[in-house]
């Protein structure tokens, strides 16, 4: 009975911690604030002060929007061994394995599970996630603007 209550308390604790796990989301435009969307839902009105709750699942799709137009996005793919942050328009990928926000979730869950499951289960329940994500929203610096009013050369 005590063991059951202990597991229950740990699960409740981990659920509470899960609610607290956040990712700080910023944009590379220091002058203006952008609304931030996480997996299609608006989570912040202004990117200058934005902490997004960690979404469940293997992917978190973050978008920065200003005046109804999306100017940039970053996708966080997470797995057992680390995480990968991918930006779409600027085509960059950053990889990392910093156990930060979700470590707090993973450990109690892992411990709780460890009472019932073999030890290796603890490591697989520990997830990785970045604490900060920068969404690029500025136009590319290099080169001239694309001549949109000219015919498509690839045609």
């Amino acid at each position: 009975m005590k063991r059951f209550l202990l597991i229950l308390a740990m699960l409740a604790g981990s659920a509470a911690l899960y609610g607290c796990a956040t990712v700080k989301v910023e944009v590379d435009d220091a002058h203006e604030g952008y609304a931030i969307y996480s997996n299609g839902k608006k989570v912040c009105n202004d990117s200058r002060n934005c902490h997004v709750p960690v979404a469940g699942g293997d992917e978190m799709y973050l978008e920065a929007e200003k005046n109804g137009v999306v100017y940039g996005e970053a996708v966080i793919h997470r797995g057992d061994g680390g995480y990968r942050t991918q930006t779409i328009l600027h085509r960059g990928t950053a990889e990392g394995a910093t156990k930060v926000a979700v470590k707090a979730v993973g450990t109690p869950l892992g411990l709780a599970a460890g009472l019932l499951q073999p030890l290796e289960y603890i490591t697989t329940t520990t997830e990785y996630f970045p604490t900060e994500v920068m969404i690029p929203v500025m136009p590319p610096e290099s080169g001239e603007k694309y001549p949109w009013d000219q015919p498509d050369p690839s045609k």
Partner: protein, 138 residues
């Protein structure tokens, strides 16, 4: 004698079974269409503003390809046959071009959803269209 007498009876059973099978098949088709719920979508030519029409055509072709791959809706060539209309626009902006997707009810033109994304060069169309086709076009 008895065999001959039963023949018309068997024939009528077979005929009934045949019509039952036909009806069943039609019902299955109807149910699967209802369960699928695939909307028939019409895509008019892309509206462009400050952008060469070539890029409108490029966006339209690309969107059609992705919509067919993702298979959430059925594209139709006539607005009369459609449930929804997906209007694409390319609007020149200071930084690049705003790619606009607007899904409307074909009946009354009411807006279902809209999505606007900046593109700095035509290569940006692919990730934008891929995302919209996968997540939005229903």
């Amino acid at each position: 004698m008895l065999k001959n007498a039963l023949k018309p009876h068997y024939n009528s059973i077979f005929m009934h079974m045949n019509s039952l099978v036909r009806c069943g098949f039609m019902a299955i088709l109807l149910c699967s269409a209802m369960l699928c719920g695939c909307a028939k979508v019409y895509m008019p030519p892309v509206q462009v503003e400050g952008v060469h029409p070539d890029y409108g055509e490029r966006l339209r072709v690309l969107t059609k390809q992705y919509v067919v791959i993702d298979d959430h809706v059925t594209l139709v060539d006539d607005v009369q046959q459609s449930d929804r209309t997906l209007q694409l626009q390319l609007l020149r902006d200071t930084a690049g071009v705003v790619v606009v997707f607007e899904m409307r009810e074909s009946k009354d033109g009411s807006l279902i959803w809209a999505y606007r994304h900046i593109a700095y060069d035509p290569n940006d169309f692919i990730p934008i269209v891929s995302r919209v086709s996968k997540e939005k076009i229903r």
